[in-house]
């Protein structure tokens, strides 16, 4: 028999947990205050970026510090293609943002992937910072101050869902639900890629790239494909950010965004695709709690992440109920069932 990809749920229980989580997210706006609806939207966007980066980190074994730049670039694309103050429909802005981010990733990836390991990390960082300085040091996107943009219209087939038509307390709902749909879509697309033979090749590259070459895979091409797909997903996340806030600034493009995605993955669990989602909620939840109890929020953040990484090698998604674990580990030790 062919095993399930190890980053995907291994049984119906995992899928059921994901479905339950989605249902919970769908219900939350009915009980949460507008502030928390906004915060959850932010967390979902963080999860989208982390999911894209996870295709590299977890599935291919590549650690990139450049994907924050593709995220920010996509948000700027929305600003740059919307003529002064006029909003474009989402079905125009989203493909444009994803295409630009994907092309940028293809170009940068084609150069960065000529290096390996630590050098790869540094080259992705350097290219990301180049994009950062384009927006930071030129007037292209409002310079260091950033710029307001007309949020893309949630419209398709002549139907429009305008936040302004909602009562004040529910203005965040349309964007929230668009983000939820997009998050689920990204997870499903990645799950599809991972369970395909492309996912198997990427996993082989992660385990032993030299051997994959020797048996006949041009590993460079496969890594480049993963790099570009991750760039497109980062672009979708950046687009969502512009829709959420209506504001772009160079901070969106900086390396900190990439580092945040890596922290989220570490926190949620490097061995599971859903780790990117769980990690994002934990990360933003943690920041929120830290902010409530102290002014030194980063200190609390850092300490909590350290504890999780040290105590839980597989992150939050690596936690298993004891009873469940015992049953799974009992038959034929060392043999994969």
């Amino acid at each position: 028999m062919i095993d399930t990809h190890r980053m995907l749920p291994q049984s119906w229980r995992g899928w059921a947990a994901l479905a339950a989580g989605t249902a919970m997210l769908a219900a939350l706006p009915f009980v949460a205050t507008p502030y928390y609806v906004g915060l959850l939207t932010t967390a979902m966007i963080g999860a989208m970026l982390a999911l894209g980066v996870h295709l590299l980190v977890g599935a291919t074994g590549l650690v990139s510090l450049g994907h924050g730049a593709f995220y920010g670039l996509a948000a700027y694309v929305v600003y740059l293609i919307s003529p002064e103050g006029t909003a474009l429909p989402i079905w125009q802005t989203l493909p444009a943002a994803m295409a630009v981010a994907g092309l940028a990733a293809l170009l940068i990836g084609s150069l960065a992937l000529r290096t390996r390991g630590f050098f790869f990390l540094m080259v992705t960082l350097a290219f990301g910072q180049m994009i950062f300085f384009v927006f930071h040091d030129t007037k292209l996107g409002g310079g260091t101050d950033g710029a307001y943009l007309a949020k893309p219209l949630i419209a398709a087939f002549g139907l429009e869902l305008s936040p302004a038509s909602f009562p004040r307390a529910r203005r965040g709902w349309p964007v929230y639900y668009v983000a939820l749909v997009q998050l689920v879509a990204i997870y499903l697309v990645l799950a599809f890629l991972l369970r395909s033979m492309l996912g198997r090749v990427l996993e082989g590259i992660k385990v032993n790239e030299q051997r994959m070459q020797a048996i006949g895979f041009n590993t460079y091409r496969y890594k480049l494909a993963a790099f570009a797909i991750a760039g497109m997903i980062a672009g979708a996340a950046g687009h969502m950010w512009s829709l959420h806030t209506g504001f772009v600034n160079p901070e969106l493009v900086g390396w900190q965004k990439s580092a945040e995605a890596l922290l989220i993955i570490l926190l949620g669990g490097i061995g599971s695709l859903a780790g990117a989602i769980v990690g994002a909620f934990a990360f933003y939840g943690l920041s929120e709690v830290a902010q409530l109890i102290t002014e030194r929020k980063l200190l609390v953040d850092g300490f909590a992440i350290l504890v999780v990484v040290i105590l839980l090698r597989d992150g939050l998604t690596g936690i298993r109920l004891p009873r469940w674990r015992r049953r799974a580990a009992a038959p034929e030790a060392g043999v994969h069932g």
Partner: protein, 252 residues
């Protein structure tokens, strides 16, 4: 092209230098169909460098490489299995966290699956799995297909190495010290396996163990300091004084 000698895999004046070190010097060798051709030589004779030249892992400094009369010099390593040249490694080089079957299935996928089908799910392409199972059957690993390859015994990992090379149904099979680190019982099984492989493939065997080589080889080439000392049948090589000198030192 017209004067290319017949044979599956042919090298002509193949050389490789690393700076001032001439690791492989002017090696001309013909690997024929259904032949087990052993390349032997003392440590540091350039045997593994020679295999790496044949698989494209290293680019030769000079010389040509032909596959069935076609010049394939400069082919990249990942293109070789599709052309019909595959190899095993001296130091076990498998996908340790994946199952035994998946190791071999990937090797089949690399040469048999068109890239446009890359998004189909592994279980939908039963022919790849069947080919992988056949290769596992050849080396005697069928019972372990679900085992995570990293927990196999050393000998079984060596068998898996060969199954992965066999998976692409190569014309030329290059085996770099398949016996490395094997016990006597496992070696005995490997002899039987190699003899059966040589009936269907052209096998180039790099080996250190002389007893083993004389038992299985149809022809052999002796490399010393990167150059060919002699080529011939095992009986001829055994009688060759130069070989005796190279291995045992000059007679008193």
């Amino acid at each position: 092209m017209a004067d290319v000698p017949p044979g599956i895999l042919v090298t002509e004046g193949l050389s490789k230098s690393f700076g001032g070190l001439r690791a492989v010097r002017d090696v001309t060798l013909t690997l024929n169909a259904q032949e087990l051709h052993a390349v032997i030589g003392p440590n540091g004779a350039g045997k593994t460098t020679f295999v790496n030249l044949l698989t494209g892992e290293l680019a030769p400094t000079s010389g040509r490489l032909y596959l069935e009369g076609r010049d394939i010099t400069g082919t990249r390593p990942w293109e070789m299995p599709r052309l019909g040249v595959s190899r095993s490694f001296q130091r076990t080089n498998i996908l340790k966290t994946l199952s035994v079957l998946e190791n071999v299935r990937l090797a089949v996928q690399a040469v048999k699956l068109p890239v446009r089908k890359i998004l189909s799910a592994p279980h939908t392409k039963a022919s790849l799995v069947e080919a992988a199972r056949r290769a596992l059957g050849r080396v005697g690993l069928s019972a372990h297909e679900k085992t995570v390859s990293g927990v196999l015994s050393h000998g079984a990992q060596r068998q898996l190495e060969i199954a992965m090379a066999l998976a692409s149904e190569p014309k030329a099979l290059l085996l770099d010290e398949p016996l490395a680190g094997m016990g006597p019982e496992e070696s005995e099984r490997m002899v039987v396996l190699l003899q059966s492989l040589a009936r269907e493939h052209a096998v180039l065997l790099i080996e250190h163990d002389m007893d083993f080589v004389f038992k299985v080889a149809d022809r052999m080439t002796v490399l010393v300091e990167g150059a060919v000392l002699t080529t011939g049948k095992p009986s001829e090589v055994r009688a060759n004084r130069a070989v005796q000198t190279a291995y045992l030192g000059s007679p008193a």
